[in-house]
Amino acid sequence: MIEGRGLTRTFPARGGLLGRDPVRALRGVDFTIPDRGAVSFIGESGCGKTTLGRILCGLEDFDGGELIIDGQPLSRLRPRQRETYFRRIQMIHQDPYSALNPTRTVEGILGAPLALRARQRGENDGWVRRRRAELLELVGLDPGFALSRYPHMLSGGMRQRVVIARALTVDPEVLVADEAVSMIDVSLRLGILRLLRDLRERLGVSVLFITHDVATARYLGPGGELYVIYRGQVVEHGRTDTVIGAPVHPYTQCLLAAIPVLAGIEQPGPQRPVPLGALDERAEPPGCLFEPRCPFAAPGCRSERPVLGQVGETAQEHACLYPERRAVVPVSAG
């Protein structure tokens, strides 16, 4: 189990003559990734979800709060000790076209980390070969086909499977999938989502799914949790079905209303709110962070900043002073 407690991260401002304000990428984020769980972070570009994923993988430092892995607070560990913890958390990158070394075959791509793993475990070359084939089969690739191929000979979906197989070489407990399907053809996305779901069931790994496409979060299997992040703050959190079925925060509602509607099969919800203006990472409104763009903002939103909590009759946590259920989700037609 991995817990984040009040994680913050502030990036110093770059450039500008007048000394720009720093960007607050995370402002005290709490989350829990249970064993075998499926946790999704959703939000638009620039909301901080990628920073959160990178912190989890040890690719980025946090400057406040605590990351607790299996009860062990990370900040108390020396860098050397941290490494063994971060081995358990592996990232699946967004872009399978640039995440693989183009000069190595799939055999080499998987062979290098497996050889290292074999040394740690005192295994021989035969183990590496067996494990390589096993992993490829696990991610749905035929070893006979894939082993001798270079990345450019594979489709986007196949490459992403190789990326996942590579992440699995070190026996991780958590896979952090940062927009893992957004660069893949829509037709192949379901296959990758099913694979992540299967890995949860078969290997017991948990999946942290970072995405701007809420619909994909529904396909990770039962028991999913959803965190909606806006400007480094969790604004709504609950079970995936609950949040998608009955969102109460206007930002979540805008995200859900933005999903394209399939003519004939679906129709838009009765309400289709659109955020006002674009995200401004530097604005620091005194009240609610979403207030400047909120289509439902009230005068009180300008003075008080809401905190995440379960206020009113909601099944989920939210950070809105005036939570209200609105029918924004597209519905099946007919």
């Binding site: 192949l188 003519a263 597209p330 099946s332």
Partner: protein, 364 residues
């Protein structure tokens, strides 16, 4: 390469009432490969009805971009057969080079797939607009800038700011909108958008889609939207053509096509779509991958290797497009058709066609 052409070139969409603004007939575009020339687009006929948004839906490598570039006579492949006629332009393959240059931009606006990164990083947007005007011999550059400002406001951008911005100062969604402004500033009446929303998040995508719809209607454009995302096409397009391995396998009014898809490929595509409605358990991933230039079958139906309805005839004869039987609700479905084919009026007023042996056609 020797491929038996369909005996008769079928009319693209049997909508005889309004002449199409863009008429593609029997278009084949081939690329040279190590093993000879291979067609990326094969005997495609397609009409773009004036004032409508036509969606071209297909997976990576299905030939959508090759087809769209052929509308500008700009395909890197070789056009081995067919014609593209555009209203007010004529056959684009017969145009002299100077005229072709004028047509690209002045008649047909094209927003490229990588339009996010296709601005010059060293010049502000305004200067690039002037370059565009000069390269088209535009005398009235003030007028051009005035039009550009109007268009920028139309797509929801602050024109004064954007014109003095460099590419890196604009977000992905803003660059995409600038791409649309560039495509339309010379008053093109045909707009082609290749994957207009890839790499955008949902909120930017929604606003770009809305802008496309608005600009399309306000300027009475004839628009072609290319995407692999059924959602984008389903939200935007009046008519949809589904492309597979260089062929159009199904075409019709978007609503009818999504509600009652006839071609097994369209059905599989819809069943594999992650959606916000419907039961996630009922979704079915597509098996295998689409054929590429090298693995396209030499004969028969291109989809047969992935097709649940494949029959012996599918291996030998390539199906031609035909209007599916029955203008009313579908009664006789092929066996094992699955739940997605719930009966509905598939033959809309705008014409419907499908290329599949397993779908009973009107013409045998």
């Amino acid at each position: 390469m020797a491929r038996p052409a369909p005996a008769v070139t079928p009319p693209a969409s049997p909508n005889a009432n309004v002449p199409a603004a863009v008429r593609v007939r029997d278009l084949t575009v081939a690329f040279a490969t190590a093993s000879g020339e291979r067609p990326a687009v094969s005997h495609v006929s397609l009409d773009l009805p004036p004032g409508q948004i036509t969606g071209l839906l297909g997976e990576s490598g299905s030939g959508k971009s090759t087809l769209a570039l052929a509308l500008l006579n700009a395909t890197p492949g070789r056009v081995t057969s067919g014609s593209v006629e555009i209203d007010g332009v004529g056959d684009v393959f017969a145009l002299p080079a100077a005229e072709l240059r004028r047509v690209r931009g002045a008649e047909i606006g094209y927003v490229f797939q990588a339009s996010q990164n296709s601005l010059n990083p060293l010049k502000p947007v305004g200067k690039q607009l002037l370059d565009l005007g000069r390269s088209h011999g535009e005398r009235d550059l003030r007028g051009l800038l005035r039009r550009a400002r109007g268009l920028l406001e139309d797509v929801g951008l602050d024109s004064a700011r954007v014109l003095s911005c460099y590419q890196h100062e604009l977000s992905g969604g803003m660059r995409q909108r600038v791409g649309i402004v560039f495509a339309l500033v010379l008053n093109a009446h045909v707009l082609i958008l290749d994957e207009p929303t890839t790499a955008l998040d949902m909120l930017s995508q929604a606003s770009v889609l809305q802008i496309i719809r608005k600009v399309h209607a306000a300027r009475r454009l004839t628009t072609l939207v290319i995407s692999h995302d059924v959602g984008v096409i389903g939200e935007l397009a009046d008519r949809t053509a589904v492309m597979y391995a260089g062929r159009i396998v199904e075409e019709g009014p978007t609503g009818a096509l999504l509600v009652g898809p006839r071609h097994p490929y369209t059905r599989a595509l819809l069943a594999a779509l992650p959606r916000i409605t419907g039961d996630p358990e009922l979704a079915r991933p597509l098996s295998q991958r689409p054929p590429d230039l090298m693995s396209i079958p030499a004969a028969g139906c291109m989809f047969r290797a992935r097709c649940p309805l494949a029959m012996p005839v599918c291996a030998s004869t390539e199906p031609v497009t035909a209007e599916p039987a029955g203008a009313g609700p579908v009664t006789a479905e092929p066996a094992g058709a699955g739940p997605a084919s719930a009966g509905s009026a598939a033959t809309g007023p705008g014409g419907y066609r499908v290329a599949c042996h397993a779908v009973p056609g009107e013409r045998p």
